[in-house]
């Protein structure tokens, strides 16, 4: 398992990344761009090292909001997906509303979120949930929809109730798709939490970044972005790991 994961570390991607960084550094120096226009990676790394204790401190809050929101999103998504699976009628009613919910630009209703939920962790969690539940709910619903109709019929002939069918067929069949959606949601979770903090907070990476940006320190802003991306990628890897442990049969089948 561990061996396989190590094997999966995207060496090529890291290579491309390194090349891009070198080009960026060179580009900044050659064109003589000022730091506030675009800080060179070397400056960003310096800032990262200098600010690391602070960054880690702020990260704790953001990560907590991201994880709580992601958990809430998963719960909401599962409930919605199961409800939609109960009948095509309900599905037809709920699905367009899900799409509708995604067309609302969150930052524009953000002030309202704060009026309603205050300054604690709550509005951040709400933002993360709003951003993350959609990919999970949709992939879960699509996965359940795509479950083998003949399996469903088989259970019907066995006398299964709709709930049994959902539990025994639809949910397990949708798990691979669920995890695919969860990975997307995981990618968005940190970003959502940062947006949430941006609306009003006393700590968190979002706060760090706005302060740095109002103090005209583009290198610190980039350092924070790096931390956010790093945590997001770790989250992504964690979800991949959980998915491999949860649905081994799926990965075994695919390997064939």
């Amino acid at each position: 398992m561990i061996f396989r994961l190590i094997n999966r570390i995207p060496v090529t991607a890291l290579g491309i990344m390194a090349v891009l960084l070198v080009l960026w550094e060179a580009g900044v120096h050659i064109t003589g761009m000022p730091v506030w226009f675009l800080p060179p990676p070397s400056r960003v790394f310096t800032a990262l090292v200098e600010m690391l204790p602070q960054l880690l401190d702020h990260s704790r809050y953001t990560l907590l909001a991201a994880l709580t929101g992601l958990t809430a999103a998963v719960l909401v998504a599962l409930v919605l997906a199961v409800v939609m699976a109960m009948s095509p009628r309900i599905r037809q009613g709920v699905y367009p509303l899900l799409v509708f919910s995604q067309t609302i630009p969150i930052i524009t209703i953000a002030p309202l979120l704060i009026i309603w939920f205050g300054f604690g962790i709550m509005p951040k969690v709400v933002v993360v949930t709003l951003v993350c539940f959609f990919p999970v709910a949709v992939s879960m619903a699509e996965g359940m929809q795509a479950a083998d109709a003949d399996m469903v019929k088989l259970l019907q002939v066995m006398g299964a109730s709709r709930w049994q069918t959902i539990k025994l067929i639809l949910i397990p069949a949708a798990l691979p798709s669920f995890f695919a959606g969860l990975k997307i949601a995981g990618t968005y979770a940190m970003m959502g939490a940062v947006i949430g903090e941006w609306l009003g907070a006393s700590s968190g990476l979002g706060v760090f970044m706005t302060r740095a940006s109002h103090a005209y320190q583009a290198d610190s802003v980039f350092a924070a972005i790096m931390i956010i991306s790093l945590i997001s990628l770790l989250l992504f890897a964690l979800i991949e790991l959980i998915s491999r442990l949860t649905i081994p049969w799926y990965y075994n089948e695919r390997r064939k």
Partner: protein
């Protein structure tokens, strides 16, 4: 510190209080942080949390709804909010005179409002901006319709003028000082020089009518502590700047100190005590806004502010 206090004095739970800033922590907020650092809130039995938005936020609804006990706002914003039935009240003027104005890099040549014709203005989308520019430009014999209004959103002044913007409305105490540090020459037109009605209070500390009604004592306690904080900042700019930096270590130390030195003498300025607001200033500006059709109705300015809670 708070825990020690509790243990020492016994049963009394500190009352928790939220303050919403209008922007990231800056020298407008020094007094709030000094009071926090010196434990003056705790002396009043308050446990204060300071939260901040990313961007020039409209704090009025948050204060009015009670999500924040106090907020940092502006007179124009309070006036606008009250005209829309948002029950928010200004309880102290942080700076006695309006230190804001229109800034542009020297090479743009905007040395008087007339020069703004044909230029691009970067604002943040408050309705007052249009009216104000219009008044100022027309007062100088210019044509406001020749100004292009752009909402710069999150972009800061230096980023904005680097791109498509010619001039913007800044606080000299922050952005102006930063430009001095950068060695960038600005033309700065202070608004109160251009139009007397525009010498309003900005920023101010606000609270909700509900809180005033339900717990006036809290407002008293809070303002007592804050006043001490600003008075300290007036007397000890360098020490105050150092305290502020402690709470916002991301901020540039040099900028902070310079800004604090600029602002410390201006907090109280010519007023008898820090935070004092004059009815005349409120009335004059509200009337001006009303005449410029910025308000759906004229507001009762005596309800919009009060000096009642300032320490004697």
């Amino acid at each position: 510190a708070a825990a020690g206090e509790e243990a020492g004095e016994g049963k009394i739970e500190p009352q928790s209080v939220t303050v919403m800033l209008d922007w990231v922590p800056n020298t407008n907020h020094t007094g709030l942080y000094v009071a926090l650092d010196k434990g003056w809130y705790a002396d009043e039995g308050l446990q204060v949390e300071i939260v901040e938005p990313a961007q020039g936020g409209a704090t009025a609804p948050l204060v009015a709804s009670g999500q924040a006990h106090f907020g940092v706002g502006y007179q124009e914003d309070v006036t606008q909010a009250r005209a829309n039935e948002v029950p928010v009240v200004s309880v102290a003027a942080v700076i006695q005179h309006n230190t804001s104005g229109f800034a542009s890099p020297k090479e743009k040549g905007i040395t008087r409002p007339l020069n703004m014709e044909g230029k691009r203005y970067g604002g943040w989308g408050a309705p007052t901006e249009d009216a104000m520019l219009k008044a100022v430009i027309e007062g100088d014999g210019g044509d406001f319709s020749k100004v292009e209004m752009i909402n710069t959103g999150v972009a800061d002044f230096f980023a904005a003028v680097e791109r498509d913007i010619d001039f913007a409305w800044i606080y000299y105490g922050w952005t102006g000082v930063e430009s001095e540090l950068r060695g960038m020459e600005l033309d700065f037109l202070e608004v109160r020089q251009l139009e007397p009605a525009l010498d309003y209070y900005t920023p101010v500390l606000t609270t909700g009518e509900k809180l005033i009604k339900e717990d006036p004592e809290l407002v008293h306690k809070f303002l007592r502590a804050v006043s001490r904080g600003y008075e300290f900042a007036i007397d000890n700019p360098e020490e105050a700047a150092r305290i502020l930096l402690k709470y916002t270590p991301e901020t540039d130390a040099e900028l902070l100190l310079a800004s604090q030195k600029y602002l410390s003498p201006r907090y109280q300025d010519d007023a008898p005590r820090w935070g004092e607001q004059k009815a005349q200033v409120w009335e004059r500006y509200a009337r001006w806004m009303y005449e410029k059709e910025l308000l759906p109705e004229m507001i009762a300015t005596d309800k919009a502010f009060t000096n009642e809670f300032l320490p004697k």
